[in-house]
Amino acid sequence: MKTASFRTEVREQLKHIGQADIIVGIPSFNNAHTIAHVVRAVQAGLAKYFPEHKAVIVNSDGGSIDGTMDVVHSTSIDDFSAILLHHRVEPVSKIAFPYSGIPGKGSAFRTIFEIADEVGAKACVVVDSDLRSITPEWIELLVKPVLDGGYDYVSPLYHRHKFDGTITNSIVYPLTRALYGKRVRQPIGGDFGFSGELARFYLTKDVWETDVARFGIDIWMTTTAIANGFKVTQSFLGAKIHDAKDPGTDLSSMLYQVVSATFALMETYADHWMPIRGSEPVPAFGFEYTVGLEQVNVNTDRMLNVFREGLMNLGDIWRDILGSGDFNEVERLGGLPDLEFHFPVGLWTRVVYDYALAFHKKKLPAEQLIKSMTPLYVGKTASFILQAKDMLQQEADAEIEKLCMEFENNKDYLVNNWK
């Protein structure tokens, strides 16, 4: 492990702060128009729920040019009496600085871990800087299980539209659950709580010059916590509404980043996940309530078109990865009329497992391999949307549960072929 090397002004600030109980990390990159709300919610949360604890807000910035760090410095709650009857006298310390290292969320988190280590923090929280739905209660829900409950890692639970989070719902959640045997519903949620001990453990891992520094830090944190026996829990945070993503963000790049990080962790923890069968629930904190969610418009015609184009153009690659039997089944799906299109859960499970095996056996360069999965994923997503369009949230959740059970029941296929 390399020792932390902060800039002089950061080191002086840390020297001035001395010791702290709670660190709230906010990684950012050009989030000037949303970060003020996040900082205010964090300040209010710390003042309301942890007035007796010393806390530091750390903005680890990726070189924003829109004045994100200036916004962080200038943001404060002028009148706490509007929020609290009693409030702390000492303001919460804030540090905002550009992190060093490979550009990416992972490097931003590494700096937050280093600061947590430096000030001897007992609990840490990381929240996204583009959140619009964050409330002061999020801080309580992410910190309390660590400070008072003895947990090491708090994963978020959100209410999301049944069509949102499809990479999580159809790949990352079922796969992580089947592999590691823990039902962590949002393993790549982005807003997490964790103990100082776990932050220090993360720092001992030699991954900060790899892809983890660029992308995939969320699944890496969750998997590392589970696979190394740390106590994991979940907290219900309500709705997750955040700034609209850059429309130029390519789906296949997103899929590559998330799935390659998940598959790479399968290599690291193969000895851990191989013997595990079934899964167990993870305790959850927070009061669950229903929230009104924004309507999600989806164009399934276009999605099915992408699937069929994929079948026509990438058929040879798919056949090589899936084998003739499953490829013929995929080919049959391509001939179905739009309204009858249905991607069976058993087939989808084998598709994901076959891609994991192909990644393990290095059948193709990683980026090409996972990007070639995009039309299959789009087809599966279109199938789910067609199936769930008239379903209630609970019914849609039941479909995801069925998929998870399929992943668990078919795990032998993955284990037996993992050589």
């Binding site: 499809t166 276009r302 153009n313």
Partner: protein, 234 residues
Amino acid sequence: MEDFLNLILEPLTALFLKFKVFVPNFLAMVVILLIGILLAMLIKRFLVKLLTTINFDSWSDRMGFTKLMRQGDMWSKPSAILGMIVFWLLIIITLMSGLSALQIPAIDQLVNQFFSYIPRLFSAGMILIIGYVLSGFVSRTMLIAATNSGFHYARLLAKAIHTLLLVLILAMVMEQLQIAPSIVLAAFSIIFGGIVFALSIAFGAGGIDAAKRMIDKEAAAEQKGKTEDKIEHI
């Protein structure tokens, strides 16, 4: 009489002297050949074992070399084929070294030419292998990217790129081997330029309506996708 005998014996003596010089050279050639063949066999066996250990055959499958070999009617394992190529290369080198031991000026010249050609042969081989792998990689990347963006002619585009790259690589290989370089250069320019010219004519004149429809369709699909899809994948 003595003169007559000298007339007969002198050529025989000269022949004998030449033979006396030739025999050790010939024996040296035989020894070089025997040792060379033995070494080539040992190296081949060691190489095949090494390639098998490092899973060269699986790598060849992934890189598309196996497929290429099957197309060329070669059905042995890639490791065995590479072993065989190295074996015959060593045999040729052995043969050339053996022949040079005879110290015959004409053969010496041939051997010198052969050895001065080896670096070109090697670099041409490298260009061919690296170029083939690279062209496969580039065309597959294009195929996947174009398919994911919903481009209907993705496969056609990828094949065109693959073919153009292969033409370029073959021209580079021929140029490296100095096989009719001026003809190769002219042929390459004609083929490459011809393809580009044909495409521009087809797209710009003959297929103007079709091209317009394709562009409109792509633009409309893109616009529709941007305005309608609000799904959050993560």
